[in-house]
Symmetry: C2
């Protein structure tokens, strides 16, 4: 990755640090290293406010460069910093929402003279929530590949398939188009393989995870998505795969059907498209997340579908979420979120309705906030495709 | 899952708690909930020493049972415990190597009257390292499905394929045989999609992760495994996919070749089989991990292959690792690990050699420690298969 791009990203973090009087950060979690170094290492990026950053690396062992040094353990950091001519930190931030308790305390103990703050995750996620032009370009490229994979879905459907079998073929299409497969989620609690495929009433199954919809899954050890049931005539099939082609989690959902669906499914799908339209119309710099959520919910209420929106037994309380290196970034379009949209933010908007006896319908696209409104990144037909 | 099985597992943890005078544990990380509850929830298992455990659940919202209660946030725990007639904890253990710093401190702050210890991860992992009969059965079933997928690999190879393309087909075979796909790793730093396929010199590429071998990967954002190069005559192809069929990470590596390989590759492969034989012969209850590592290394030394064993540019310093709900459990067969094997432990043994200009050769099987020795779980031909 080009150095000016990395400098730009690091300076965004530095600006947020400066506001809180923080003079240094230690960054060691994979996605944050990827963001600030353009690559993943086992090691530590030391990011001071007014000096160049240094990368201290355990693995790989063949990395070198102007501000790169090898290291074996975090206890070496103070000495290495001194050797590099970097003053000891006074207020140091660590990734307090990502580092495990023991690792955090071990790292903090290396700097007994510093005030150590756990706000690193928060600040870096804030910086990451506004994408650079280079990052937007990654999203655009991902979206094209993602759409190419989805366009081929009807060609891999065979009568008599189970939802699991179709999911496997869709995963293969995604991989063939270059998807890296890995689905990065912020936080320790949400797990998913490549994404989800939900057919029929399985779409209403509550899961422990905070995704838009659940699904029973194939095993108690991974409760979400396809459950192995045969695909039946009159069912909808919702495909929501993670579009990680270049590290960025492009998010897109499309609905397919086994034969024709009952009219109410198309009506519900139309409501979701209307929700998308209402939110996209209102979304622009300065728009408040909660207001966008409410604008969408108003459409759902008028259509009389609140009891099926974002699930039935268990309903998700959001209609959109930021995406980036992880699937769940800021901003979140949800109640009580008073954050305002800014140019460069990228979010997925996913109004979905579960029709009992049919399955889930609705839409999900990834959008970038521009200077005046929003740009749809995931360009792909939005009607229900009959297979 | 049957209650007696869960009781057995919980009592294994209780026994370890009792030794350290710990009277309660709060368990909230996915794999530990899976272990103790047979399922994943968003919530908390409160495990007291001398009373039945209680499960407090945020999601899914449709779970009920004798010792199950709904909850919204951890701050409700003390009150809920009182309502359930459970005394406040005096020495409480949390999952200190898994819970992020802020989540740990928030949870600990709910119990100001208790001494809170971060050793939960350690103790639960110790309990998990010795498998129950039911868990061994999961491994046996996984191993059969895993072997069935590997047996079909030659049938999906086509001349002119890239390593990525072959990897996608192998992943599909695994999924078709029921693999859940998710690759669970302990710790925050190691990431991998379904496993790795390494062909030719890519096998020698160092990665930031502590897997046996690296590989460049397809993108800087996920540096490991296939790199998109065409498969060429005279190259070895090492397939090491995670065999998560029922939550248990069965581990198996087999080597394929594009046409014939140079004789030195077969010789190196034979050395790896000899290492496996030497370690398997010595492995039994009471055997010390480091001694097993040394027994294997002795074979490598005699063959004069230490500089190519477990990598060339960067060499892994282990030849085996425990497996279970995660790919990296105890015991680890590595220098300075004085732990003794116990009946019921399950480990993967993976001697591998990188032959410059050819690729990686070697073997990996998953083994269970029995009362007298070890049982090989992954039964599948071990020679290099020419494609």
């Amino acid at each position: 990755m080009l150095l000016p791009e990395l400098k730009l990203r690091r300076d965004k973090i530095r600006a947020l640090m400066a506001r809180q009087g923080i003079d240094a950060a230690i960054i060691t979690c994979n996605v944050n290293l990827l963001y600030t170094c353009g690559r993943i290492v086992s090691g530590y990026l030391y990011l001071p406010l007014g000096q160049p950053a240094w990368l201290f690396v355990k693995r790989p062992n063949n990395l070198s460069g102007e501000h790169v040094r090898p290291l074996r353990k975090p206890e070496q950091l103070p000495e290495l910093l001194e050797e590099c001519g970097i003053p000891a930190p006074a207020r140091l931030m660590l990734e307090g929402d990502e580092l495990p308790f023991r690792e955090y305390t071990r790292l903090a103990a290396c700097f007994p003279g510093a005030e150590v703050l756990p706000c690193g995750t928060e600040l870096i996620r804030q910086a990451r929530s506004v994408k650079t032009e280079a990052e937007l370009e990654m999203f655009r490229r991902s979206a094209v590949a993602h759409a190419r994979a989805y366009a081929q879905i009807p060609s891999v459907y065979r009568e008599g398939m189970t939802d699991r079998e179709l999911s496997v073929e869709v995963e293969r299409l995604m991989r063939q188009e270059g998807c890296l497969g890995l689905f990065r989620v912020f936080g320790r609690s949400m797990e998913i393989f490549m994404g989800s495929l939900l057919a029929g009433d399985n779409a209403a199954q509550p899961s422990p995870y905070d995704f838009a919809l659940g699904g029973r899954g194939l095993d108690e050890s991974l409760p979400g998505g396809a459950d192995g049931s045969p695909l039946l005539k009159g069912q909808s099939v919702m495909v929501d795969m993670g579009g990680n082609f270049y590290g960025y989690m492009c998010d897109m959902t499309r609905v397919f059907s086994i034969g024709r669906l009952p009219q109410q499914a198309y009506d519900a799908h139309k409501v979701c498209l209307d929700v998308q339209e209402a939110v996209a119309q209102a979304a622009r710099p300065g728009a408040v997340c909660e207001d966008l959520y409410n604008a969408g919910m108003e459409v759902v209420r008028k259509a009389g579908m609140t009891d099926r929106f974002m699930g039935t037994v268990q309903q998700a309380r959001f209609i959109g979420h930021g995406v980036g290196l992880e699937i769940n970034e800021a901003p979140v379009l949800a109640p009580r979120i008073r954050q305002e949209l800014e140019p460069g933010m990228v979010f997925a908007l996913e109004p979905k309705i579960v029709v009992p006896g049919v399955g889930a319908v609705g839409i999900e696209n990834t959008w970038a906030v521009t200077s005046e409104g929003v740009e749809k990144l995931t360009l792909c037909p939005e009607d229900i495709v009959e297979m």
